[in-house]
Amino acid sequence: MPEHLDPDAALMLRVKQGDVAAFTELVKKYKQPVINLIYRTLHDLTEAEDLAQNVFVQVYKSADRYRSSAKFSTWLFTIARNLCLNEIRRRSRHPADSLDATHPDQEDQPVHQVEDRKVAPPPEQVLHGELEQKIEEAIAELPENQRTAILLCRQDELSYEEIAAILGCSLSATKSLIHRGRETLKQKLKPYLKSGVWDA
């Protein structure tokens, strides 16, 4: 094994040999950033966890195809993004399932559980007040590629070149996406940013 092998790549090589414990370590390390990305793409916590689970299962199934020359996190986030895009396309093809449709196995239960808005929704655990809600809304309104580029920027282990690889575009195009996304966010959040609440 090369001396300067990425630690994640070393774990992944063990996974290729059937080491389940190595795979558990990778899941524990990356579950949070993967769910963060998927949640802010799909805007649904339950679906985000389900899709994140599929991401890791896909990683496991594709372990034979993993090459240690590629950085594991780049490969992982590429899979995550692709599954998100598939889900977005699926939603666009089936925009509105009937709210009255019943569950195929339990006819007395609806397929879609509509939340009671009088009760504090789970996202309140995530959002702390109006300020954070504003930035979440602003991020959600960005085009998918700008949003993904900005969210991946938060992953310190990903270089701009690796972010470009995940997005499937050039380095200059990636930096342009980040710049344009940030300019849009600055315009929308100017009052809140100027208030000094988020001073560094």
Partner: protein, 167 residues
């Protein structure tokens, strides 16, 4: 490092230090924006980076890892079931195919040889029949008197005077 682009890119990921901010201000002095706008822009950039870094993590179920590993285990079992059935077919099918082709080849050869032999036997039988139909040949002793043989077949010349009388 005084490259404004590099400093901005650093600022996208974390707030710039005071030294870095000073270097960026210095490098942007030639920009058309006035100093006040530039300063405002830098502060907005810095505040946005801080805000993005403070976005809280999405909550993750405590049993998320266990659920992933359970799904992986189901995947492993599914793979081993598939590979077992594929394995038995992978081993047996070529052998069955090879054996079947061998049997077929032997049968084909047997049929061809048998047919050829039958054809040969038929030809032989036909020639025997042909030979058996030939009448008995005269004794070779007859051939010794060649002159006698020649006269046996000789026919007299026509009597032309007699023919003329009949006409």
């Amino acid at each position: 490092m005084n490259d404004p682009e590099k400093l901005r890119e650093i600022g996208w990921r974390r707030p710039l230090t005071d030294v870095e901010k000073a270097a960026l201000r210095e490098s942007l002095k030639s920009e058309p924006k006035n100093a006040r706008e530039l300063e405002s822009d830098l502060e907005l950039d810095s505040a946005l980076t801080a805000a993005l870094n403070r976005i809280p993590d999405a909550p993750v179920s405590s049993n998320f890892t266990a659920r992933v590993m359970a799904a992986v285990e189901r995947e492993q079992k599914s793979r081993s079931r598939t590979s077992e059935s594929q394995w038995s077919w992978r081993v047996l099918f070529p052998r069955i195919a090879f054996a079947a082709s061998g049997v077929f080849t032997v049968a084909a050869i047997f049929i061809l040889v048998s047919h050829h032999q039958q054809a040969q036997a038929r030809q032989l039988a036909e020639s025997v029949v042909a030979v058996s139909n030939v009448s008995a040949l005269p004794s070779p002793d007859v051939l010794q008197d060649f002159e006698a043989i020649r006269q046996l077949n000789a026919t007299p010349a026509p009597d032309e005077q007699l023919l003329a009388l009949f006409q």
